[in-house]
């Protein structure tokens, strides 16, 4: 039986629509996957940069203390041991214990010989940093005000047994990227080269 042209075209529209829906579904599903993965990557990159600056802030703060107390105040009330003791060397506390310490940047003063701006971390770990984006805030990441974040910064210090003029400072930032935990560390050695 010979089919007319109209009969041949009868099922074309439905087949075409089905093919179109299939292509659209597959491509949209794929694109959604890629977009979700991009969003995760962007959040990871953002957190990585934040962690990087938090590490630098901690390391440079300790270094600022060394330069101020051990070097600039050397002939007055300062000195290398006074600098180390500020961070808990003599009392074997604060940054010189296994749990490490927190630097409270909202009250941090590099020239303080002792103070509450450096706190020992408990066995449960250091407190997580809060983020305060308000205009009145001097610092974005701190412990006093703002919304809690997953960033936890720990600072640890160890004096080299063979050379007490040398101290190793390690800052670690742990955070959550979605449900997976991430960690970054930065270390520096400070020496008493102005003794």
């Amino acid at each position: 039986m010979k089919l007319s042209k109209q009969q041949k075209n009868k099922a074309f529209t439905i087949i075409e629509a089905l093919v179109a829906i299939m292509i659209l579904s597959v491509s949209v599903a794929g694109m959604l996957g890629v977009t979700a993965s991009s969003a995760t990557s962007a959040r990871y990159a953002n957190n990585e940069i934040t962690a990087n600056y938090l590490l630098q802030e901690a390391i440079d703060s300790v270094r600022n203390s060394r330069d101020t107390i051990a070097f600039q105040m050397k002939n007055t009330t300062g000195g290398w041991l006074v600098f180390l003791n500020r961070y808990g060397y003599g009392a074997n506390s604060k940054c010189f214990i296994a749990n490490g310490c927190m630097l409270k940047m909202d009250s941090f003063d590099a020239s303080l010989l002792s103070g509450n701006d450096i706190i020992s971390c408990p066995n449960s770990g250091c407190q997580s940093l809060s983020y305060d984006s308000s205009a009145s805030s001097q610092l974005f990441y701190q412990y006093s005000t703002g919304n809690p974040t997953s960033f936890v910064r720990t600072v640890k210090m160890v004096v080299t047994p063979t050379n007490t003029d040398e101290v190793k400072v390690t800052a670690t930032v742990d955070w959550l990227n979605g449900s997976s935990s991430r960690s970054r560390s930065l270390e520096i050695y400070l020496l008493d080269w102005q003794k």
């Binding site: 491509s27 990585e48 040398e166 020496l191």
Partner: protein
């Protein structure tokens, strides 16, 4: 009858064409988003590598300053341990009143190329005035032959 035939003829492929156009637009948006995320990852990776390299050069400069101020570039032992590295101090090479010291860590894995930093120090004496120049170079990965190695340097003059 003729009109219906003509309509089907005109509608042929319209759904596919429409789909291809929509998929194309979505693809463009997705590629744009992915590209932005990829660049952010590159940026964060570069920031991380650069920071690591910079603090390695900082460690190197601390060691060089300590070696010069405490031992006048002749430490009590050779190699001398500083910042967890075993530093070899070859005798300074003097040329026209300028003495150059190339201070290198022994390197990890026992090879000569795997160093996290390098120090070049020069001391020149002109009319009893000693001028010291320290160049400390740090690397993000302790393998100087790796193409991903980032170098940052600190120069100190006094």
């Amino acid at each position: 009858m003729k009109n219906n035939n003509q309509k089907i003829k005109y509608d042929k492929g319209y759904a596919i064409l429409f789909t291809v156009v929509v998929v194309g637009i979505i693809s463009m948006i997705t590629i744009g988003l992915s590209n932005a995320a990829y660049k952010q990852i590159i940026l964060s990776s570069v920031a991380k590598d650069s920071t690591t390299a910079f603090y390695q050069s900082d460690i190197a400069s601390e060691c060089a300053l300590y070696a010069d101020n405490t031992y006048n570039m002749v430490p009590p032992s050779n190699p001398w341990t500083c910042a967890g590295n075993s530093l070899s101090f070859p005798a300074g090479v003097s040329l026209g009143g300028v003495t150059t010291y190339n201070i290198d860590p022994a390197g990890t894995n026992g090879t000569s190329i795997n160093k996290c930093f390098r120090i070049t120090a020069t001391k020149s004496i002109v009319l009893d005035t000693i001028t010291t120049d320290i160049q400390a170079k740090g690397y993000n990965i302790c393998n100087m032959s790796n193409s991903r190695t980032v170098e940052r340097a600190i120069q100190i003059n006094y």
